[in-house]
Amino acid sequence: MSFFSQAWAIVRKDLVTELRGASTIVSMVLLGLLVVLVFNFGVEPGTASASLARSGVLWSAFLFSGVIAVGRSFASEKEAGCMDGLLLCPVDRGVIYLGKLIGNLILVFATGLIILLFWTAIYNVGIGGAWFGLLLLLVLATIGMSTLGTLFAAVAAGVRARDALLTVFIFPLLIPLVIGAAHMSTMLLSGKTLGEAGMWPWILVVYDVVFLAVSFMVFDFVVED
């Protein structure tokens, strides 16, 4: 098996495990939908404040549900010592990181898509011509969230208070991503294009590339005992 087919074997294993257990994806979707729903009662529909708040609601829901996914990705490996089982295999550590990352990308993107659709229905958002831009934004946010989350989930996996530790580490680092995504989605929904969003799309691209590169470089040290 090649580097990529071994990484894919990890993705397949993670997805099969998740679909059979279904605990993570159910938690992610429910939390995301609840955040969207609860915030809906806090703003008066049709007002200017509702228009401004809705983008923040979307990306907050995405953030909270995404953290559940990345947090579980390594926690599940700790059961029955499976993380050690993986580390004992003669595979490049990059294979393990890539496999875990792709698994998280799929879960986070799928959940983000469900939240996005629910959000458009609850807030009565007319996406119109902005759907492509929003989808691209979702892809960029998913990459950023999964890249960073996968790395920090590996750091936190061996710690007793891993959930608290993960959120403490990851939320501050994800702030630029969430602000950028919220800002751009507001612009897109007001009829502007990504080209008119200034540096924001590039900030997200650079954010993704930098954390992807750093994660690949340091993952070996992170999983070292």
């Binding site: 074997a9 294993k13 499976c82 003669p90 005992d225």
Partner: protein
Amino acid sequence: MTTRGAESEVAGSAESLEAPTVAAAVLVRNLRKDYGHHEALRGVDLRLDPGTFLTIFGPNGAGKTTFMKVLSTLTRPTEGIVHVGGKDVVKDAPEVRKRVGVISHNTYLYAQLTGLENLEFYAGMYRVPNGRQRALSLLKRMDLFTRMDDRVGGYSRGMQQRLSVARALLHDPELLLLDEPYTGLDQHASRVLAEVLQGLRDGTRTVIMTTHNIQEGLSGCDRVAILVEGQFVYDRRVADIDTSSFQHTYFTCVHEELPEED
């Protein structure tokens, strides 16, 4: 610190280290491992010829699991040389991993996958040629063939441990590390596992086992060592000792301390 009752026997261990007639399956020189200020291993030496079955006894916290982790590349030594099949566990870690199989009280199995899926997954990770055939063959050998399509979460502890043995043998390792494999097993499951482990002795595969159970530990091994506070204080061939009094020897090694040397 050393141990009064075991002093001469430790010398016997040193003697065996000076007789490298064949290439060592495992060679350890002055191995030290620190976790912060805690010294888990304090200058461990060991040489094992291919095909040797070594059982390591020791109380909790003696460093047995740390020693196994170093041999399996799960943790790096702080100091010293550790070679498995002539490969350095730090510089040639991927090569060492190809040669080592590990069975511990953790099964390393995914509860949501079936027995066959677990083995196929690990066969892929070890790049085992004809992984599915190898997995099926091992499932038959471990008497799990009829349950191979059941999820591992539904297996008994004994069945999981037998599947764990199959997982560790997938890539036909030269060195098998058994880290307290009997933990959590009932008497029947322990006996079945002991039979399975005995079946692995083919004269070429080197086995190192750690255990607290003296009876199971002495059964079938040809060398026995005692690790106390990060040091081997006893190391003998089983043929040279009186196994009936080994329990007394063990307690002497663990509990009696020599006065500090001048």
